[in-house]
């Protein structure tokens, strides 16, 4: 099962994600949103990424939820019953409901997005785009954005090692962290620029980005069923929200 999920074509994962977010947002009912989130966590668990998914979503959603409660819950001026009050500020039931609803909507987007990020292999995604009829520049752009961060992390690790060899930036705790940040920032930027420059001429010499026909050694498994699923998912992510949102019959 785990292999099935992680070996899905990246485009299939993306199409299903678009479909899920579109329907859940359009429907905007709490149980559907909750069901989607639970399902995502379950898929994450099967793929062995549950802990990472939960941690990342938590890190994004907690501050979001708090700020939504502050904006809608506390400042709400409706006449619904008060749940809790601290002096002049009070949390009303209506306000809390609005905040929860908005938070759930955001949560669906966040959890589905993160799950996509965890399920899709960067290299597979780039290969899928290279193998698709998209222009070669698309794969080039995506590759340079996706791999920029890991490359910079590697670079900053190398600089960190070089500095550690000179006993600089080895402090502990927050102060040490800040010191490392200060010491590494400038060399990181300068050497990343230098590195990109040095590599770019060899990339160009090796014909990258390709100007015409190009191929990939890497295979991205696909199937008739997955192609079908993608089309249906994309179609439904337009039709279902339209059906929900466009009033039929009744209102003029």
């Amino acid at each position: 099962m785990k292999r099935r999920i992680t070996q899905l074509h990246p485009f299939t994962v993306l199409c299903l994600a678009v479909f899920t977010v579109a329907v859940a947002t359009a429907a905007s009912v709490w149980w559907l949103s909750c069901a989607v989130i639970v399902m995502c966590l379950a898929i994450g668990a099967v793929a062995g990424k549950a802990r990472k998914l939960a941690a990342l979503s938590g890190a994004i959603m907690l501050p979001t939820l708090l700020s939504l409660l502050m904006i809608h819950g506390l400042a709400s001026r409706d006449s619904s019953p008060v749940i809790a009050a601290w002096g002049p500020i009070s949390l009303t039931r209506g306000g809390a409901e609005v905040a929860m609803m908005l938070a759930l909507r955001t949560a669906v987007l966040v959890v589905v997005g993160l799950l996509c990020g965890l399920l899709i292999d960067k290299h597979q995604l780039v290969a899928a785009i290279d193998l698709s009829p998209a222009p070669p520049q698309a794969g080039y752009l995506l590759a340079s954005t996706l791999f920029l961060l890991p490359q910079m992390m590697e670079k900053q690790h190398a600089i960190g090692e070089a500095q550690a060899l000179r006993k600089a930036g080895t402090g502990r705790g927050l102060a040490g962290w800040l010191q490392r940040l200060r010491l590494r920032a400038v060399p990181l930027v300068l050497s990343s620029v230098q590195d990109a420059h040095d590599r770019s001429v060899h990339l160009a010499a090796r014909g990258f980005p390709a100007r015409g026909e190009h191929s990939r050694l890497r295979q991205v498994a696909d199937s008739q069923i997955q192609r079908g699923v993608r089309w249906v998912a994309l179609l439904c992510s337009v039709l279902v929200p339209a059906a929900i949102l466009v009033p039929f019959g009744g209102a003029a």
């Binding site: 090692e161 550690a164 060899h202 014909g207 980005p209």
Partner: protein, 465 residues
């Protein structure tokens, strides 16, 4: 390949004919190259030697069409490559299509890691990267990979991440990728640096094969020794121009073995002790080194020898505290300093002086030592230069200076002789002697058996996995 106006078919049997009047870097005050004439015929091997800083890498860049940079450097000369004529003049340098040029002439840079794309996950993909961009069908690419990886004994690396290779493995992979692109002329900048004896033999064999298939090869190197038997043309680059080289007996080894500290040291407590140590990297399937027992005592100079990828760098990094052992006991009882295998990984400041003074307390003994270190390593004249603009030999000495300024008692050197010129080698020997005299110890890795025999009291051979 270039602007239409500069395109003119020329009949010629040679793969390349070059007449270079002059080449000057953008803000330099003299020509780096001048009055060079070179003709390459298919299947030939041309070896160009020259001291560090003589302009070999610049010449490589010019051959590969990467220099002059448009609108910056100035160049005067004429190329005839693959039947096309390209004219450079100080007023006008034609726009070069680097990819089109590289199909005829490929260059392996001195820092071979730069050749790797860093956007492919496995070595196998890296090997056919250029072919992918040409649109070669998958089946042919698979055959190509099998052919080349067998020829260069790279099979065990095919599924590895190209960014996590040892120095020698990286060079070998880059070299293979370049040959797999199959240009008709291949220019190699120091192709044997950091390769073990097996890899050296495989690369030499492959060069013979490529020549038999009609590829013209140019090797840029500091010492011609390894090439004299094979090469049909031996040239030296000096004062910016090419001259025929005389086949010389190699310069005699200048240095003697460090004097007999080792015997006296036997009783001393070890400065560095590995006991049953296991070392490895996160995410790798097996540890790189297991059951390592090694002691280095004060006054001792120990050499590390072993094939590419057997863990010499890994061992040294652990000794320097950059890598924690997975198991076993590692004890370091003295201040250590380490010279990394690739000096570019060690240098990040804007001038040589700043680089050496980095991280030293503003006022203090160590900072006062900076001018003396510069003097000692022969770097006084480039104190204000950007380390990146220095020739390879000087760059390695700068990296060495950043270590020495702290006067470590335990000096760790990873391939210190790579890229060093004779003067640099002399300095390195003096540095090692002075550390030993101070009562310190030296542990170094090298592929240069002669240097090991000359310098080390004792050799630790890394077991092959």
């Amino acid at each position: 390949m270039m602007d239409m106006e500069h395109r003119a078919p020329v009949e010629s049997t040679s793969a390349l004919h070059l007449r270079l009047g002059s080449f000057r870097y953008a803000d330099a005050d003299h020509d780096t190259l001048r009055a060079i004439e070179l003709e390459l015929s298919p299947g030939s091997l041309t070896v160009i030697s020259g001291d560090s800083g003589s302009g070999k890498s610049t010449f490589g860049g010019v051959l590969a069409g990467m220099l002059p940079r448009q609108g910056a450097d100035s160049c005067e000369g004429t190329f005839i490559l693959a039947g096309q004529r390209i004219d450079y003049s100080p007023e006008h340098s034609p726009r070069i299509d680097v990819a089109g040029w590289a199909r005829h002439l490929g260059l392996l840079p001195q820092d071979a890691g730069l050749y790797l794309s860093r956007i492919r996950q496995t070595v196998a993909e890296e090997l056919v990267f250029a072919r992918e961009n040409e649109g070669m069908p998958r089946k042919e690419m698979t055959e190509l990979i099998t052919e080349f990886s067998t020829r260069l004994s790279l099979e065990h690396l095919l599924e590895r991440d190209p960014s996590k290779l040892s120095g020698g493995q990286e060079r070998l992979v880059a070299l293979t990728a370049l040959s797999a692109a199959n240009p008709s002329i291949i220019v190699l900048d120091e192709p044997l640096a950091g390769l073990d004896s097996t890899a050296t033999a495989t690369v030499t064999a492959m060069i013979t094969r490529l020549r038999a298939a009609g590829t013209a090869l140019v090797v840029l190197t500091r010492t011609t020794e390894a090439w004299e038997a094979e090469a049909e043309t031996l040239l030296t680059l000096a004062d910016g121009t090419l001259r025929p080289a005389t086949r010389t007996a190699r310069t005699a080894a200048s240095s003697s073995k460090p004097s007999g500290f080792a015997a006296a040291a036997a009783s001393e407590k070890p400065l560095l002790a590995f006991a049953g140590v296991q070392l490895g990297y996160k995410g790798a399937s097996a540890p790189v080194i297991s059951d390592l027992d090694l002691e280095v005592r004060a006054g001792e100079c120990v050499g590390l020898a072993g094939a590419n990828g057997t863990g010499k760098t890994t061992l040294l990094k652990a000794a320097a505290g950059l890598l924690k052992p997975i198991a076993g006991k590692l004890r370091v009882t003295a201040e250590s300093g380490m010279l990394l295998q690739n000096p570019s990984d060690q240098l990040f400041e804007r001038t040589v002086t700043r680089e050496i003074a980095f991280g030293l307390p503003k006022k203090g003994l160590q900072r006062a030592r900076v001018p003396r270190i510069l003097e000692q390593l022969g770097l006084a004249s480039c104190a204000q230069t950007h380390p990146y603009e220095l020739p390879a030999s000087a760059r390695r000495l700068v990296a060495l200076a950043t270590v020495l300024v702290r006067e470590p008692r335990l000096l760790l050197l990873d391939e210190p002789t790579e890229a060093l010129d004779p003067a640099g080698l002399q300095i390195l020997n003096e540095v090692i002697d002075s550390v030993l005299e101070r009562g310190g110890a030296v542990l170094f890795s090298s592929h240069d058996e002669r240097f090991i025999a000359r310098t080390a009291h004792r050799v630790h051979r890394m077991p092959r996995q």
